[in-house]
């Protein structure tokens, strides 16, 4: 399967996941957006050598994944696909930052390894939370939420158009690539072939835009796309936002793992 086809299959899967009725999908998209932003802010606010103090924050993505019944395998695959960048950017840390840090009595580690671990953990936290929200909300509800939170209407309409026609144009592009292969085309096309192949796709895109515009005009379009879905904020949404934000603040302010460890071991410090 070509890269384009697998990307489209992926988008379709995300759509299918979002269409299910789950505890997460029933929440107002605004609640999920606001809470996730608060989560991101809390996670990235930690200092670069933080590892343990970040652990309590795992609760949020794990809760989202559970509430949204997001398949772990899907999530793991997405994480693995996105991970190389984080690894690439972090891997220099152990080399560059060798100043030893004492992580436990008598045990020291290079600061770079700790900050590398921190980068990976941050990556896992932020990406998992974002993916779980997307899979438990869907593009359309997300756009409705973004619009309700003040995103310019032109931009949310743009997102929806992109989403809708990525499937149509992506399908056309994939069929053109398949047709090329069926006639013996191998590997990446040369620039000349690419210019013509992608060029024809671009021409079709223009023609399609023209036809869509006519179809919109025929149904009275006057430059503005009017929203037809009303968002409903319920007490569940309030509980979700307030509860989680309180947890983030608490986790940020109090070093929870240590507190827990002391409780369990009965050792003061």
């Amino acid at each position: 399967m070509s890269r384009l086809e697998s990307a489209l299959a992926d988008l379709r899967l995300a759509d299918t996941l979002a269409a299910r009725d789950t505890g997460l999908s029933r929440l107002d998209p605004r609640a999920k957006i606001v809470t996730t932003l608060a989560f991101l802010a809390a996670v990235v606010s930690y200092e670069r050598h933080t590892v343990v103090a970040l652990l309590p924050f795992l609760l949020y993505p794990v809760a989202l994944v559970s509430m949204g019944e997001v398949p772990w395998r899907w999530l793991a695959r997405k994480l693995a696909l996105a991970a190389p960048f984080a690894v690439l950017m972090g891997i220099a840390n152990p080399v560059l930052d060798r100043a030893p840090l004492e992580v436990a009595h008598g045990v020291t580690m290079a600061g770079g390894w700790i900050s590398f671990g921190s980068i990976l953990l941050r990556f896992a936290l932020t990406v998992t939370a974002a993916l779980a929200v997307v899979a438990g909300t869907g593009m359309h509800a997300l756009c409705a939420g973004l619009a309700a939170l003040g995103t310019p209407r032109v931009f949310t309409a743009q997102l929806l158009f992109l989403w809708r026609y990525a499937f149509v144009l992506g399908g056309e592009g994939a069929r053109m690539a398949t047709a090329r292969e069926a006639r013996g085309g191998r590997g990446s096309p040369t620039l000349a072939v690419y210019g013509s192949l992608a060029g024809h796709l671009l021409l079709r895109a223009f023609e399609r835009a023209e036809r869509i515009h006519r179809a919109m005009l025929a149904r009275g379009f006057d430059g503005e796309i009017r929203p037809s879905r009303a968002l409903r904020w319920s007490s569940r949404d309030t509980v979700f936002v307030v509860g989680w934000v309180a947890f983030f603040v608490a986790a940020r302010a109090v070093y929870l793992p240590l507190l827990l460890g002391r409780l369990l071991t009965g050792l003061g410090g």
């Binding site: 359309h140 036809r211 869509i212 006519r214 179809a215 005009l217 025929a218 009275g220 037809s228 879905r229």
Partner: protein, 243 residues
């Protein structure tokens, strides 16, 4: 339904590159009539439909709906009166879900959201697609897309329906359902098509186009017997007559 006569008077159009698409096409369609426009590729069928919906301006001639001339000034009236079902349903269905797409037209006309939703529900019921209301359009089959596109148009309550190649790409079962549906409508129907069997089932009258002109006008049963005419226009007699 408040219906009017639809009239084309000497319509001419040339593309910016100079190709003639329409060359003085004139005809008159009575209220409630079901008329087919047939002809080979490039005969000018689609251009003619676009002009009748006020989506393309003629170089010469005019389109009249009742007493009103189709001009940019009469745009609102034209949009409400004429419903256009496009050939490629993907061009028409762009809203997140089917029910939102069907409500798109009414909302543009200033109908309040709740009323638009009920209009959409009724229209979906008419085309037998109520069960698709919550689905996103891109997960639908070709026949389902066509039905939903039709619903999006009838939700606006037009009295005239223009359909461009409505059976293109449909499987036989979906095509049959569409035929039944269109037979039951009371709207004035003007259909551009290559599917002459469909014309026999749905239309009482047929206009044959060639080179931007209307070269024949009559009952399908009579017109489709004129084999030299059909051959000249890149058409063939309906399959059901071909033994």
């Amino acid at each position: 339904m408040n219906q009017q006569v639809v009239e084309a008077i000497g319509l001419s159009y040339a593309y910016p590159d100079g190709t003639t698409a329409l060359d003085g096409a004139s005809f008159r369609v009575a209220p409630g009539e079901s008329v087919a426009i047939v002809g080979g590729n490039g005969a000018g069928k689609s251009t003619l439909l676009l002009m009748m919906a006020g989506l393309l301006e003629a170089n010469a001639g005019e389109v009249r709906i009742g007493d009103v001339s189709v001009t940019p000034g009469s745009r609102d009236f034209v949009r409400r009166t004429i419903g256009f079902v496009f050939q490629d349903a993907d061009d028409q269905l762009f809203m997140p879900t089917v029910k939102e797409d069907v409500a798109f037209g009414p909302l543009n006309f200033g109908v309040p959201a709740e009323e638009a939703a009920s209009l959409a529900a009724t229209a979906l019921d008419v085309v037998g697609a109520s069960h698709l209301a919550e689905r996103p359009p891109y997960h639908l089959s070709g026949g389902e897309k066509r039905a939903v596109a039709l619903a999006g148009v009838i939700a606006m309550g037009p009295s005239v329906l223009l359909l461009d190649e409505p059976t293109a790409g449909l499987d036989p079962a979906a095509r049959r359902r569409l035929i039944k549906l269109l037979q039951a409508f009371e709207h004035t129907r003007i259909v551009a098509t290559h599917d002459l069997d469909f014309v026999l089932d749905v239309c009482a009258r047929v206009l044959v186009m060639e080179g931007g002109r209307i070269v024949a006008d009559g009952a399908p049963d009579a017109v489709f017997r004129d084999e030299p005419l059909l051959a000249r226009c890149h058409l063939e007699a309906p399959l059901r007559w071909q033994g």
